[in-house]
């Protein structure tokens, strides 16, 4: 028996929502494994979290070893997904919507059949869910018999947090917490650390390698994601902190989902973007590597005198040598002389100051686009990191704006010192004469 986890038409990406430290997709795979189903086909529709879900499904975790991924541009529907997965017309499969968490024991099934699963014993007025075994040719219309257990459709961060709290409170049977309960209601995952002077009010879950500093007060109902960092004197209650988020010193947050870029209210779903790294930022990126900064400083010293001379001459004839660009919470410098090598100098200064990478996306139009774009809609996901030396000429030579945008996305997902070295070598060999600001952006 195979299972198909399919995306819902108007809400792709629900599988990335976190339930007590693990994403919904993993919780679904755990349940299917418990049901004896390891041959699972998962639809991954394009959305800001698609790469994250794909990396999880296609990574080394034994839970996902037999999972097969069907990438789609947008949800294509169950029949089309079954076809793309290669299921025969009469082959039965369990159809599981990507937003449904089930903890029920289904009876053995041989052919098309439906089951009704009751709502969970918490969370108020929630409708029962249907779990269907069907074939490509034959859908099941009836409601089916009621089976023991519960199921819940998780459609937003608010429901996910409610469910997480129920799990921590021992109300949601069958959902494991991958952490140790060090005190009643206080769960610490592997590598999580709490300062002695911090106060935790149960229920609280700290994810792997999360850190809580002194005088912070967390709880009740707080989940801190993997490698997140909660600074001194922070006060959190009814909060979910997304993985790798840094919550700045003395922040006070209540009833919200917090990520590196802002807050989403758990009460009404409203979103507030925050562009202040002292309040919120990411722990996964700490600026350019020391070696890159050193190299940029050397290049800047070598070229700075010449740039100054040419800039003065340009000034005398009424031309600008420098432009600035407001990029999120910082100001970037862009050369405007029209001479590739010299226009690199102001950008190198940004690298020395730790405001952009040595190699990366440097096209002014792309940076302007990314600065304007609402990040939650995933124009660039992960968030675009500006660079001084543009990789576009070697990443997608002569490509259209749409292709370039896709390639930037791929590049940002795979950015590493090795890849940057390869691209830089290609750039040097290719010798594009265009200055960073002159490449066409999306």
């Amino acid at each position: 028996m195979r299972a198909l986890i399919y995306e819902l038409a108007d809400q792709p990406g629900r599988g990335a929502l976190e339930i007590a430290g693990l994403c919904l997709l993993v919780r679904q795979l755990e349940w299917l494994r418990d049901m004896g189903i390891e041959d699972v086909v998962v639809e991954v529709a394009t959305d800001p979290s698609a790469s994250e879900r794909a990396a999880l499904l296609l990574g080394p975790d034994p839970l996902t070893a037999k999972a097969r991924v069907v990438p789609t541009a947008q949800p294509i529907g169950l029949e089309a997904l079954a076809a793309r997965a290669g299921l025969a017309e009469d082959e039965p499969f369990l159809a599981l919507p990507a937003n449904l968490l089930v903890r029920a024991q289904l009876p053995a099934f041989e052919g098309p059949t439906a089951h009704t699963v009751a709502p969970p014993p918490f969370g108020g007025d929630i409708p029962a869910a249907r779990v269907v075994v069907r074939t490509r040719a034959h859908d099941v219309a009836d409601e089916g018999a009621l089976v023991p257990g519960w199921a819940l459709a998780v459609n937003d961060v608010s429901t996910a947090h409610m469910l997480s709290c129920a799990v921590l409170g021992g109300q949601a049977d069958g959902v494991l917490i991958h952490a140790a309960e060090v005190r009643p209601g206080i769960w610490l995952a592997r590598g999580a650390r709490v300062a002695e002077e911090a106060t935790l009010v149960p229920p609280v879950l700290l994810g792997p390698e999360a850190r809580v500093f002194a005088k912070a007060r967390l709880g009740p109902n707080v989940v801190v994601g993997k490698r997140a960092l909660v600074e001194r004197e922070v006060v959190l209650s009814e909060v979910h902190v997304a993985p790798t988020t840094l919550v700045g010193e003395a922040s006070r947050i209540r009833q919200a989902h917090v990520d590196a870029h802002g807050l989403t209210s758990l009460a009404d779903g409203s979103r507030t973007e925050i562009d202040d790294p002292l309040l919120l930022s990411s722990t996964s990126y700490r600026g350019p590597a020391p070696l890159a900064r050193l190299l940029a400083a050397l290049l800047w010293l070598a070229l700075g005198g010449l740039w100054l001379l040419v800039a003065l001459c340009a000034r005398l004839v009424g031309r600008r040598a420098l432009r600035t660009l407001r990029f999120r919470n910082t100001t970037l410098h862009m050369g405007a002389l029209g001479i590739a090598l010299l226009d690199l100098v102001p950008a190198l200064w940004d690298v020395v100051r730790g405001r952009r990478d040595l190699v990366g996306v440097a096209a002014e139009s792309a940076l302007e686009d990314a600065a304007r774009a609402p990040r939650q809609e995933g124009t660039f996901a992960p968030p675009l990191r500006p660079g001084a030396i543009d990789v576009a000429p070697v990443l997608a030579p002569g490509a259209s704006a749409a292709t370039l945008r896709s390639m930037w996305r791929w590049y940002l997902e795979n950015k590493s010192a090795t890849l940057d070295r390869q691209l830089l070598a290609g750039r040097v060999r290719g010798g594009s004469a265009l200055p960073p600001g002159a490449q066409s952006g999306p």
């Binding site: 076809a83 997965a85 070697v394 997608a396 896709s406 791929w410």
Partner: protein, 124 residues
Amino acid sequence: MADPALAVRVLSLSGPLLTRASVAQLAAELATAARGDAADDLRPLALDCAAIEGVTPDGLAALLELGARTAEAAPTRPLALTGLSRALTLTAIQAELPSRFAIYVDRDALARARDVSRESVCAP
């Protein structure tokens, strides 16, 4: 390399590395195939990537461009990809290949699904 047994015409990509040059060669093959007989022109086209183990950045960009050109030229008959390895599937998702190609798990899936292979793969 078209497979006459399938309603879908399949071209196999030679591996192990997909480069800009190999995509250019593929584009030439597709252009030749498009000049075949009229009945062939109506059959959906698919690229079998089973032999591909890796892809260079410019090869990936060239593949995206090829997908865009094909989808623009024949919106009701987009190219399909099949036989992607796990690593290539991840690359495909990161580079948004599904917006240019319909992706099937293997050749059998493609053969069984010929009734749905004409669906549009382009985002609205």
